[in-house]
Protein backbone atom coordinates (compact mmCIF):
# COMPACT_ATOMS: atom_id res chain seq x y z
CA UNK A 1 0.00 0.00 0.00
CA UNK A 2 2.72 2.41 1.02
CA UNK A 3 4.81 1.54 -2.04
CA UNK A 4 1.80 2.06 -4.27
CA UNK A 5 1.32 5.47 -2.65
CA UNK A 6 4.93 6.41 -3.22
CA UNK A 7 4.82 5.29 -6.84
CA UNK A 8 1.62 7.24 -7.40
CA UNK A 9 3.03 10.45 -5.97
CA UNK A 10 6.22 10.05 -8.00
CA UNK A 11 4.18 9.70 -11.19
CA UNK A 12 2.02 12.70 -10.28
CA UNK A 13 5.09 14.79 -9.46
CA UNK A 14 6.75 13.93 -12.75
CA UNK A 15 3.63 14.81 -14.74
CA UNK A 16 3.20 18.07 -12.85
CA UNK A 17 6.71 19.12 -13.82
CA UNK A 18 6.01 18.22 -17.44
CA UNK A 19 2.80 20.29 -17.31
CA UNK A 20 4.60 23.26 -15.76
CA UNK A 21 7.75 23.32 -17.84
CA UNK A 22 6.37 21.85 -21.09
CA UNK A 23 4.85 25.07 -22.42
CA UNK A 24 8.06 27.01 -21.71
CA UNK A 25 10.21 24.39 -23.44
CA UNK A 26 7.95 24.38 -26.49
CA UNK A 27 8.23 28.18 -26.69
CA UNK A 28 12.02 28.13 -26.47
CA UNK A 29 12.39 25.36 -29.07
CA UNK A 30 9.98 27.14 -31.40
CA UNK A 31 11.90 30.41 -31.12
CA UNK A 32 14.92 28.79 -32.78
CA UNK A 33 12.87 27.25 -35.55
CA UNK A 34 14.02 27.87 -39.15
CA UNK A 35 10.58 27.27 -40.69
CA UNK A 36 7.82 29.75 -41.46
CA UNK A 37 5.28 28.15 -39.16
CA UNK A 38 5.17 25.89 -36.15
CA UNK A 39 6.53 22.40 -36.72
CA UNK A 40 6.99 19.52 -34.39
CA UNK A 41 9.47 17.93 -34.01
CA UNK A 42 11.66 20.95 -34.91
CA UNK A 43 13.40 20.79 -38.27
CA UNK A 44 16.58 22.72 -37.56
CA UNK A 45 18.13 25.70 -35.85
CA UNK A 46 18.12 29.35 -36.81
CA UNK A 47 18.05 32.79 -35.28
CA UNK A 48 15.86 34.32 -38.00
CA UNK A 49 12.93 34.98 -35.68
CA UNK A 50 15.13 36.86 -33.23
CA UNK A 51 16.42 38.96 -36.13
CA UNK A 52 12.81 39.48 -37.18
CA UNK A 53 11.91 40.54 -33.65
CA UNK A 54 14.60 43.21 -33.49
CA UNK A 55 13.83 44.44 -36.99
CA UNK A 56 10.28 45.33 -35.96
CA UNK A 57 10.36 48.76 -34.44
CA UNK A 58 7.19 48.19 -32.45
CA UNK A 59 8.48 45.03 -30.77
CA UNK A 60 11.86 46.56 -30.05
CA UNK A 61 10.10 49.56 -28.54
CA UNK A 62 7.90 47.35 -26.38
CA UNK A 63 10.91 45.41 -25.14
CA UNK A 64 12.81 48.60 -24.25
CA UNK A 65 9.80 50.15 -22.57
CA UNK A 66 9.26 46.99 -20.53
CA UNK A 67 12.85 47.01 -19.28
CA UNK A 68 12.78 50.75 -18.49
CA UNK A 69 9.42 50.54 -16.82
CA UNK A 70 10.44 47.53 -14.74
CA UNK A 71 13.64 49.30 -13.63
CA UNK A 72 11.81 52.47 -12.70
CA UNK A 73 8.79 50.82 -11.08
CA UNK A 74 10.79 48.32 -9.06
CA UNK A 75 13.10 51.06 -7.76
CA UNK A 76 10.24 53.31 -6.66
CA UNK A 77 8.39 50.32 -5.23
CA UNK A 78 11.51 49.39 -3.24
CA UNK A 79 11.87 52.86 -1.72
CA UNK A 80 8.17 52.95 -0.79
CA UNK A 81 8.13 49.33 0.33
CA UNK A 82 11.15 49.79 2.62
CA UNK A 83 9.58 52.90 4.14
CA UNK A 84 6.32 51.05 4.63
CA UNK A 85 8.08 48.10 6.27
CA UNK A 86 10.08 50.39 8.59
CA UNK A 87 6.94 52.20 9.69
CA UNK A 88 5.07 48.91 10.16
CA UNK A 89 7.77 47.42 12.39
CA UNK A 90 7.89 50.60 14.46
CA UNK A 91 4.13 50.77 14.98
CA UNK A 92 1.99 49.49 17.81
CA UNK A 93 0.25 46.15 17.42
CA UNK A 94 -3.00 47.47 15.99
CA UNK A 95 -1.48 49.99 13.58
CA UNK A 96 0.99 47.35 12.45
CA UNK A 97 -1.85 44.95 11.62
CA UNK A 98 -3.59 47.67 9.63
CA UNK A 99 -0.42 48.57 7.70
CA UNK A 100 0.28 44.93 6.87
CA UNK A 101 -3.23 44.37 5.54
CA UNK A 102 -3.12 47.59 3.53
CA UNK A 103 0.30 47.02 1.97
CA UNK A 104 -0.29 43.36 1.17
CA UNK A 105 -3.74 43.99 -0.29
CA UNK A 106 -2.66 44.65 -3.92
CA UNK A 107 -1.04 41.19 -3.93
CA UNK A 108 -4.26 39.22 -3.54
CA UNK A 109 -6.68 41.80 -4.89
CA UNK A 110 -7.95 40.87 -8.38
CA UNK A 111 -5.63 42.98 -10.54
CA UNK A 112 -8.24 43.26 -13.28
CA UNK A 113 -10.36 45.38 -10.94
CA UNK A 114 -7.34 47.44 -9.92
CA UNK A 115 -6.55 48.10 -13.59
CA UNK A 116 -10.11 49.13 -14.37
CA UNK A 117 -10.33 51.44 -11.35
CA UNK A 118 -7.05 53.13 -12.30
CA UNK A 119 -8.20 53.55 -15.88
CA UNK A 120 -11.45 55.13 -14.72
CA UNK A 121 -9.55 57.46 -12.40
CA UNK A 122 -7.06 58.46 -15.10
CA UNK A 123 -9.84 59.22 -17.55
CA UNK A 124 -11.53 61.29 -14.88
CA UNK A 125 -8.50 63.46 -14.15
CA UNK A 126 -6.77 63.22 -17.54
CA UNK A 127 -3.56 61.38 -16.67
CA UNK A 128 -0.83 60.88 -19.32
CA UNK A 129 -0.59 57.23 -20.41
CA UNK A 130 3.03 56.56 -19.51
CA UNK A 131 2.78 58.08 -16.01
CA UNK A 132 -0.40 56.15 -15.35
CA UNK A 133 1.18 52.89 -16.46
CA UNK A 134 4.22 53.53 -14.26
CA UNK A 135 2.03 54.12 -11.20
CA UNK A 136 0.23 50.82 -11.78
CA UNK A 137 3.54 48.95 -12.07
CA UNK A 138 4.78 50.52 -8.83
CA UNK A 139 1.56 49.48 -7.06
CA UNK A 140 1.82 45.89 -8.26
CA UNK A 141 5.45 45.59 -7.18
CA UNK A 142 5.17 47.27 -3.78
CA UNK A 143 3.75 44.29 -1.83
CA UNK A 144 6.78 42.18 -2.80
CA UNK A 145 9.22 44.85 -1.60
CA UNK A 146 7.22 45.37 1.56
CA UNK A 147 7.01 41.68 2.38
CA UNK A 148 10.69 40.91 1.76
CA UNK A 149 11.90 43.93 3.76
CA UNK A 150 9.42 43.33 6.56
CA UNK A 151 10.61 39.73 6.90
CA UNK A 152 14.23 40.92 7.17
CA UNK A 153 13.33 43.59 9.71
CA UNK A 154 11.64 41.06 11.97
CA UNK A 155 14.91 39.31 12.63
CA UNK A 156 16.68 42.65 13.01
CA UNK A 157 17.76 43.58 16.52
CA UNK A 158 16.30 47.04 17.10
CA UNK A 159 18.65 47.70 19.99
CA UNK A 160 21.39 48.22 17.37
CA UNK A 161 19.38 51.08 15.99
CA UNK A 162 18.76 52.44 19.48
CA UNK A 163 22.47 52.26 20.23
CA UNK A 164 23.25 54.24 17.10
CA UNK A 165 20.71 56.89 17.92
CA UNK A 166 21.74 57.17 21.56
CA UNK A 167 25.30 57.73 20.34
CA UNK A 168 24.05 60.78 18.49
CA UNK A 169 23.49 59.53 14.94
CA UNK A 170 20.47 60.99 13.15
CA UNK A 171 17.73 58.50 12.26
CA UNK A 172 18.73 58.72 8.59
CA UNK A 173 22.44 58.10 9.25
CA UNK A 174 21.45 55.28 11.51
CA UNK A 175 19.29 53.72 8.81
CA UNK A 176 22.00 54.00 6.17
CA UNK A 177 24.90 52.81 8.36
CA UNK A 178 23.24 50.28 10.66
CA UNK A 179 19.86 49.05 9.44
CA UNK A 180 20.33 48.95 5.67
CA UNK A 181 23.57 46.92 5.64
CA UNK A 182 21.85 44.32 7.81
CA UNK A 183 18.59 44.05 5.91
CA UNK A 184 19.89 44.54 2.37
CA UNK A 185 19.32 40.92 1.22
CA UNK A 186 15.62 41.40 1.91
CA UNK A 187 15.59 44.77 0.17
CA UNK A 188 17.41 43.36 -2.84
CA UNK A 189 15.15 40.35 -3.14
CA UNK A 190 12.12 42.64 -2.94
CA UNK A 191 13.57 44.84 -5.66
CA UNK A 192 14.27 41.90 -7.97
CA UNK A 193 10.84 40.37 -7.39
CA UNK A 194 9.22 43.74 -8.14
CA UNK A 195 11.26 43.87 -11.36
CA UNK A 196 10.09 40.39 -12.36
CA UNK A 197 6.46 41.17 -11.58
CA UNK A 198 6.56 44.45 -13.44
CA UNK A 199 8.29 42.88 -16.45
CA UNK A 200 5.49 40.33 -16.86
CA UNK A 201 2.56 42.47 -15.69
CA UNK A 202 -0.55 41.95 -17.80
CA UNK A 203 -3.82 42.63 -16.06
CA UNK A 204 -3.39 46.30 -15.19
CA UNK A 205 -1.30 46.99 -18.28
CA UNK A 206 -4.10 45.67 -20.51
CA UNK A 207 -6.18 48.68 -19.55
CA UNK A 208 -3.43 51.24 -19.20
CA UNK A 209 -1.23 50.88 -22.29
CA UNK A 210 -2.01 53.13 -25.20
CA UNK A 211 -0.93 53.80 -28.76
CA UNK A 212 2.87 53.96 -28.82
CA UNK A 213 3.11 53.02 -25.15
CA UNK A 214 3.05 49.22 -25.06
CA UNK A 215 4.91 46.74 -22.90
CA UNK A 216 6.29 43.45 -24.20
CA UNK A 217 3.60 41.16 -22.68
CA UNK A 218 0.83 43.36 -24.08
CA UNK A 219 2.54 43.46 -27.48
CA UNK A 220 2.71 39.65 -27.46
CA UNK A 221 -0.94 39.42 -26.45
CA UNK A 222 -2.08 41.88 -29.12
CA UNK A 223 -0.06 40.09 -31.78
CA UNK A 224 -1.49 36.70 -30.78
CA UNK A 225 -5.02 38.05 -30.91
CA UNK A 226 -4.84 39.89 -34.18
CA UNK A 227 -1.96 38.55 -36.26
CA UNK A 228 -2.12 34.89 -35.34
CA UNK A 229 0.65 32.36 -35.13
CA UNK A 230 3.76 34.01 -36.56
CA UNK A 231 6.84 32.67 -34.89
CA UNK A 232 8.23 36.09 -34.06
CA UNK A 233 6.04 35.73 -30.96
CA UNK A 234 8.06 32.70 -29.95
CA UNK A 235 11.22 34.80 -30.16
CA UNK A 236 9.60 37.56 -28.09
CA UNK A 237 8.49 35.01 -25.51
CA UNK A 238 11.91 33.39 -25.42
CA UNK A 239 13.42 36.81 -24.73
CA UNK A 240 11.00 37.24 -21.84
CA UNK A 241 12.07 33.89 -20.43
CA UNK A 242 15.78 34.68 -20.94
CA UNK A 243 15.41 37.99 -19.11
CA UNK A 244 13.76 36.34 -16.09
CA UNK A 245 16.32 33.55 -16.10
CA UNK A 246 19.08 36.16 -15.99
CA UNK A 247 17.50 37.88 -12.99
CA UNK A 248 16.99 34.58 -11.19
CA UNK A 249 20.68 33.78 -11.68
CA UNK A 250 21.65 37.22 -10.36
CA UNK A 251 19.40 36.63 -7.38
CA UNK A 252 20.87 33.22 -6.70
CA UNK A 253 24.38 34.72 -6.71
CA UNK A 254 23.44 37.71 -4.59
CA UNK A 255 21.08 36.39 -1.97
CA UNK A 256 20.97 32.60 -2.32
CA UNK A 257 18.21 30.16 -3.14
CA UNK A 258 16.87 29.92 0.40
CA UNK A 259 15.87 33.55 0.69
CA UNK A 260 14.49 33.57 -2.83
CA UNK A 261 12.14 30.68 -2.15
CA UNK A 262 11.06 32.12 1.17
CA UNK A 263 10.05 35.51 -0.18
Amino acid sequence: MKRFGNLLSAVVTASVFVLLLGPLLVVIVTAFSPSDFFQFPPTGFSLRWFADFFSREQMRGAFTLSVELALFASSVATVLGVMAALATVRSGRRASGFFQALYMAPLVFPTIILGLSLLMCYRYIGMPVLAGLAIAHVLVGMPYCFRATYASLQSFDTSLDEAGQSLGASPLTCFLLVTLPLIWPGVLSGWLFAFIVSFGELNTALFLTGPGVTTLPIEIFGFLQFDGGQLVIAAASALQIAMILLIVLVMERAIGLARMVRS
Binding site: M1, K2, G5, S9, A10, V12, T13, V16, L19, L20, L21, G22, P23, L24, V26, V27, F37, F38, F40, L80, G81, M83, A84, A87, R90, S91, G92, F99, L102, V108, P110, T111, I112, I113, L114, L116, M120, L139, M142, T158, D161, E162, P171, I196, G200, N203, L206, F207, P217, I220, F221, L224, G229, A234, Q240, I241, V248, L257, M260, V261
Partner: protein, 292 residues
Amino acid sequence: MRVARPFYRRPFFWAVAAPPLLATLVCFVAPLLLLFYVSFMAPSSTQLFSHHATLANYVQSLSDRYMLLLIRRTLGVTAAVLGVCLLLGYPVALVLARMQPRRRLVTMMVLLFPLMISNVVRAYGWLEILGRNGVVNLVLVKLGWIRVPLRIVDSFEAVVIALLTILLPYMIISIANSLTAIDASLHEAAESLGANPWRAFWQVTWPLSSPGVASGMMLVFFLTLSAYVTIALLGGVQYKLLVSAVFDAVSTLQWPQAAALSFILLALALAAGAVIQLLLRPHRVQGKGRAQ
Protein backbone atom coordinates in the same frame (compact mmCIF):
# COMPACT_ATOMS: atom_id res chain seq x y z
CA MET B 1 5.78 38.56 16.29
CA ARG B 2 8.05 40.85 18.23
CA VAL B 3 6.48 43.67 20.23
CA ALA B 4 7.09 46.86 18.34
CA ARG B 5 9.04 49.63 19.98
CA PRO B 6 7.90 53.03 18.83
CA PHE B 7 11.15 54.77 19.72
CA TYR B 8 11.32 56.91 16.61
CA ARG B 9 10.66 60.54 17.25
CA ARG B 10 7.22 61.46 15.92
CA PRO B 11 8.19 63.72 12.99
CA PHE B 12 10.67 61.16 11.72
CA PHE B 13 8.20 58.32 12.05
CA TRP B 14 5.69 60.19 9.94
CA ALA B 15 8.32 61.19 7.39
CA VAL B 16 8.88 57.45 6.86
CA ALA B 17 5.28 56.28 7.21
CA ALA B 18 3.52 58.98 5.21
CA PRO B 19 4.82 58.53 1.63
CA PRO B 20 3.88 54.85 1.20
CA LEU B 21 0.63 55.40 3.09
CA LEU B 22 -0.35 58.34 0.91
CA ALA B 23 0.70 56.53 -2.27
CA THR B 24 -1.43 53.51 -1.38
CA LEU B 25 -4.43 55.56 -0.33
CA VAL B 26 -4.33 57.85 -3.38
CA CYS B 27 -3.41 55.28 -6.05
CA PHE B 28 -5.08 52.12 -4.72
CA VAL B 29 -7.89 52.87 -2.28
CA ALA B 30 -9.24 56.06 -3.88
CA PRO B 31 -9.57 54.60 -7.41
CA LEU B 32 -11.40 51.58 -5.98
CA LEU B 33 -13.80 53.85 -4.14
CA LEU B 34 -14.38 55.79 -7.35
CA LEU B 35 -15.05 52.52 -9.21
CA PHE B 36 -17.50 51.48 -6.50
CA TYR B 37 -19.23 54.86 -6.77
CA VAL B 38 -19.43 54.63 -10.56
CA SER B 39 -20.99 51.17 -10.33
CA PHE B 40 -24.06 52.85 -8.82
CA MET B 41 -24.26 55.63 -11.42
CA ALA B 42 -26.31 55.79 -14.58
CA PRO B 43 -24.42 55.50 -17.88
CA SER B 44 -23.88 58.59 -20.00
CA SER B 45 -23.20 58.87 -23.70
CA THR B 46 -20.98 61.96 -23.45
CA GLN B 47 -19.10 61.43 -20.18
CA LEU B 48 -17.76 58.46 -18.23
CA PHE B 49 -20.99 58.37 -16.21
CA SER B 50 -23.82 60.66 -15.17
CA HIS B 51 -24.42 61.55 -11.56
CA HIS B 52 -27.71 59.73 -11.12
CA ALA B 53 -27.75 57.02 -8.51
CA THR B 54 -29.20 53.74 -9.71
CA LEU B 55 -29.05 50.03 -9.03
CA ALA B 56 -29.72 49.24 -12.68
CA ASN B 57 -26.14 48.21 -13.45
CA TYR B 58 -26.26 45.42 -10.91
CA VAL B 59 -29.88 44.45 -11.56
CA GLN B 60 -29.30 44.27 -15.31
CA SER B 61 -26.13 42.22 -14.96
CA LEU B 62 -27.70 39.76 -12.57
CA SER B 63 -30.90 39.34 -14.58
CA ASP B 64 -29.21 39.02 -17.95
CA ARG B 65 -29.21 35.41 -19.15
CA TYR B 66 -25.85 35.67 -20.83
CA MET B 67 -24.25 37.14 -17.70
CA LEU B 68 -25.74 34.37 -15.58
CA LEU B 69 -24.30 31.85 -18.03
CA LEU B 70 -20.90 33.53 -17.71
CA ILE B 71 -21.12 33.45 -13.92
CA ARG B 72 -22.05 29.76 -13.95
CA ARG B 73 -19.21 29.03 -16.35
CA THR B 74 -16.77 31.00 -14.21
CA LEU B 75 -17.79 29.00 -11.16
CA GLY B 76 -17.53 25.76 -13.13
CA VAL B 77 -14.06 26.54 -14.43
CA THR B 78 -12.77 27.69 -11.04
CA ALA B 79 -14.24 24.59 -9.35
CA ALA B 80 -12.54 22.33 -11.90
CA VAL B 81 -9.24 24.20 -11.60
CA LEU B 82 -9.40 24.05 -7.80
CA GLY B 83 -10.29 20.35 -7.74
CA VAL B 84 -7.54 19.26 -10.11
CA CYS B 85 -5.05 21.64 -8.47
CA LEU B 86 -5.73 19.97 -5.15
CA LEU B 87 -5.59 16.42 -6.56
CA LEU B 88 -2.31 17.02 -8.38
CA GLY B 89 -0.84 19.49 -5.94
CA TYR B 90 -1.22 17.55 -2.72
CA PRO B 91 0.87 14.48 -3.72
CA VAL B 92 3.58 16.78 -5.07
CA ALA B 93 3.54 18.76 -1.84
CA LEU B 94 3.92 15.50 0.10
CA VAL B 95 6.91 14.49 -2.02
CA LEU B 96 8.37 17.96 -1.54
CA ALA B 97 7.87 17.87 2.22
CA ARG B 98 9.73 14.56 2.50
CA MET B 99 12.77 15.82 0.57
CA GLN B 100 16.08 16.86 2.08
CA PRO B 101 16.08 20.64 2.69
CA ARG B 102 18.65 21.35 -0.04
CA ARG B 103 16.83 19.31 -2.68
CA ARG B 104 13.52 20.79 -1.61
CA LEU B 105 14.93 24.27 -2.14
CA VAL B 106 16.06 23.49 -5.67
CA THR B 107 12.76 21.80 -6.52
CA MET B 108 10.79 24.74 -5.16
CA MET B 109 12.86 27.05 -7.33
CA VAL B 110 11.97 24.97 -10.37
CA LEU B 111 8.31 25.32 -9.37
CA LEU B 112 8.64 29.06 -8.83
CA PHE B 113 10.38 29.78 -12.10
CA PRO B 114 7.29 29.37 -14.34
CA LEU B 115 5.43 31.74 -12.00
CA MET B 116 7.87 34.49 -12.84
CA ILE B 117 7.26 34.23 -16.58
CA SER B 118 4.45 36.39 -17.88
CA ASN B 119 1.13 34.54 -18.17
CA VAL B 120 0.90 35.51 -21.83
CA VAL B 121 4.06 33.53 -22.62
CA ARG B 122 2.73 30.45 -20.86
CA ALA B 123 -0.64 30.79 -22.58
CA TYR B 124 1.21 31.03 -25.90
CA GLY B 125 3.07 27.84 -25.03
CA TRP B 126 -0.25 26.08 -24.51
CA LEU B 127 -1.54 27.42 -27.84
CA GLU B 128 1.47 25.81 -29.54
CA ILE B 129 0.73 22.54 -27.77
CA LEU B 130 -3.07 22.38 -28.02
CA GLY B 131 -3.70 24.48 -31.14
CA ARG B 132 -4.89 23.22 -34.50
CA ASN B 133 -1.35 22.64 -35.70
CA GLY B 134 0.02 22.14 -32.23
CA VAL B 135 2.20 19.45 -30.74
CA VAL B 136 -0.69 17.20 -29.68
CA ASN B 137 -2.39 17.24 -33.06
CA LEU B 138 0.85 16.83 -35.04
CA VAL B 139 1.89 13.84 -32.94
CA LEU B 140 -1.54 12.20 -33.10
CA VAL B 141 -1.69 12.64 -36.87
CA LYS B 142 1.84 11.28 -37.30
CA LEU B 143 0.93 8.25 -35.19
CA GLY B 144 -2.09 7.75 -37.42
CA TRP B 145 -4.55 7.90 -34.54
CA ILE B 146 -6.51 10.75 -36.09
CA ARG B 147 -6.77 12.13 -39.63
CA VAL B 148 -8.17 15.58 -39.10
CA PRO B 149 -6.63 17.74 -36.34
CA LEU B 150 -8.78 17.89 -33.24
CA ARG B 151 -10.26 21.16 -32.11
CA ILE B 152 -8.97 21.48 -28.56
CA VAL B 153 -8.67 25.22 -28.00
CA ASP B 154 -11.64 27.56 -27.46
CA SER B 155 -13.11 25.18 -24.92
CA PHE B 156 -13.65 24.52 -21.24
CA GLU B 157 -10.87 21.91 -21.23
CA ALA B 158 -8.26 24.17 -22.83
CA VAL B 159 -9.00 27.00 -20.40
CA VAL B 160 -8.87 24.66 -17.41
CA ILE B 161 -5.58 23.05 -18.50
CA ALA B 162 -3.87 26.39 -19.04
CA LEU B 163 -5.17 27.96 -15.82
CA LEU B 164 -4.31 24.82 -13.92
CA THR B 165 -0.65 24.84 -14.85
CA ILE B 166 -0.38 28.56 -14.27
CA LEU B 167 -1.74 28.26 -10.74
CA LEU B 168 -0.50 24.84 -9.57
CA PRO B 169 2.78 26.12 -8.11
CA TYR B 170 0.91 28.42 -5.71
CA MET B 171 -1.11 25.47 -4.45
CA ILE B 172 1.89 23.14 -4.15
CA ILE B 173 4.10 25.62 -2.33
CA SER B 174 1.35 26.69 0.01
CA ILE B 175 0.53 23.09 0.99
CA ALA B 176 4.19 22.07 1.18
CA ASN B 177 4.90 24.94 3.57
CA SER B 178 2.26 23.76 6.01
CA LEU B 179 3.29 20.11 5.58
CA THR B 180 6.95 20.76 6.37
CA ALA B 181 5.90 22.63 9.50
CA ILE B 182 4.11 19.54 10.89
CA ASP B 183 5.98 17.66 13.57
CA ALA B 184 6.83 14.28 11.96
CA SER B 185 6.58 12.50 15.33
CA LEU B 186 2.80 13.07 15.30
CA HIS B 187 2.45 10.83 12.27
CA GLU B 188 4.74 8.22 13.83
CA ALA B 189 2.74 8.36 17.04
CA ALA B 190 -0.48 7.72 15.14
CA GLU B 191 1.07 4.72 13.36
CA SER B 192 2.57 3.28 16.52
CA LEU B 193 -0.86 3.54 18.11
CA GLY B 194 -2.11 1.22 15.39
CA ALA B 195 -3.49 3.57 12.74
CA ASN B 196 -2.85 2.41 9.18
CA PRO B 197 -1.14 4.95 6.86
CA TRP B 198 -4.46 6.10 5.33
CA ARG B 199 -6.04 6.67 8.72
CA ALA B 200 -2.93 8.46 9.98
CA PHE B 201 -3.12 10.66 6.90
CA TRP B 202 -6.80 11.50 7.21
CA GLN B 203 -6.79 12.08 10.94
CA VAL B 204 -3.40 13.69 11.46
CA THR B 205 -1.69 15.00 8.33
CA TRP B 206 -4.69 16.26 6.38
CA PRO B 207 -6.28 18.33 9.20
CA LEU B 208 -2.92 19.80 10.16
CA SER B 209 -2.22 20.81 6.58
CA SER B 210 -5.60 22.48 6.13
CA PRO B 211 -4.28 26.04 6.65
CA GLY B 212 -1.96 25.54 3.68
CA VAL B 213 -4.72 23.95 1.60
CA ALA B 214 -7.08 26.81 2.44
CA SER B 215 -4.62 29.57 1.60
CA GLY B 216 -3.57 27.78 -1.59
CA MET B 217 -7.20 27.44 -2.68
CA MET B 218 -7.95 31.09 -1.96
CA LEU B 219 -4.94 32.21 -3.98
CA VAL B 220 -5.83 29.95 -6.89
CA PHE B 221 -9.45 31.09 -6.82
CA PHE B 222 -8.61 34.79 -6.78
CA LEU B 223 -6.06 34.47 -9.55
CA THR B 224 -8.36 32.32 -11.71
CA LEU B 225 -11.04 34.99 -11.60
CA SER B 226 -8.84 37.68 -13.07
CA ALA B 227 -6.70 35.63 -15.48
CA TYR B 228 -8.14 37.43 -18.49
CA VAL B 229 -5.32 36.86 -20.95
CA THR B 230 -5.20 33.10 -20.46
CA ILE B 231 -8.96 32.87 -20.82
CA ALA B 232 -9.02 35.13 -23.88
CA LEU B 233 -6.28 33.19 -25.67
CA LEU B 234 -7.40 29.64 -24.89
CA GLY B 235 -11.14 30.28 -24.72
CA GLY B 236 -11.23 32.47 -27.82
CA VAL B 237 -14.39 34.35 -28.68
CA GLN B 238 -16.59 31.33 -28.02
CA TYR B 239 -15.64 30.45 -24.49
CA LYS B 240 -15.88 33.60 -22.39
CA LEU B 241 -15.99 33.99 -18.63
CA LEU B 242 -17.15 36.77 -16.35
CA VAL B 243 -13.83 38.59 -16.55
CA SER B 244 -14.20 38.74 -20.36
CA ALA B 245 -17.52 40.53 -19.84
CA VAL B 246 -15.75 43.21 -17.80
CA PHE B 247 -13.40 43.74 -20.72
CA ASP B 248 -16.14 43.77 -23.32
CA ALA B 249 -18.00 46.39 -21.28
CA VAL B 250 -14.87 48.56 -21.19
CA SER B 251 -14.22 48.23 -24.90
CA THR B 252 -17.79 49.34 -25.64
CA LEU B 253 -17.30 52.23 -23.16
CA GLN B 254 -20.06 51.09 -20.80
CA TRP B 255 -18.18 52.25 -17.74
CA PRO B 256 -20.86 51.85 -15.03
CA GLN B 257 -21.64 48.38 -16.39
CA ALA B 258 -17.97 47.39 -16.28
CA ALA B 259 -17.70 48.74 -12.73
CA ALA B 260 -20.73 46.77 -11.56
CA LEU B 261 -19.46 43.58 -13.21
CA SER B 262 -16.08 43.88 -11.55
CA PHE B 263 -17.70 44.22 -8.14
CA ILE B 264 -19.83 41.16 -8.87
CA LEU B 265 -16.54 39.40 -9.64
CA LEU B 266 -15.11 40.61 -6.34
CA ALA B 267 -18.22 39.50 -4.44
CA LEU B 268 -17.86 36.07 -6.03
CA ALA B 269 -14.24 35.91 -4.88
CA LEU B 270 -15.11 36.92 -1.31
CA ALA B 271 -18.01 34.47 -1.14
CA ALA B 272 -15.81 31.64 -2.38
CA GLY B 273 -13.16 32.61 0.15
CA ALA B 274 -15.75 32.37 2.93
CA VAL B 275 -16.93 28.96 1.70
CA ILE B 276 -13.36 27.64 1.59
CA GLN B 277 -12.75 28.87 5.14
CA LEU B 278 -15.99 27.28 6.30
CA LEU B 279 -15.27 23.91 4.68
CA LEU B 280 -11.67 23.54 5.77
CA ARG B 281 -11.85 25.48 9.05
CA PRO B 282 -8.07 26.09 9.00
CA HIS B 283 -8.19 28.20 12.17
CA ARG B 284 -9.00 25.15 14.32
CA VAL B 285 -5.47 23.82 13.85
CA GLN B 286 -3.63 27.13 13.60
CA GLY B 287 -0.36 26.80 15.47
CA LYS B 288 -0.99 23.21 16.60
CA GLY B 289 1.25 20.27 15.77
CA ARG B 290 4.09 22.48 14.62
CA ALA B 291 7.59 21.06 14.59
CA GLN B 292 9.77 22.79 17.16
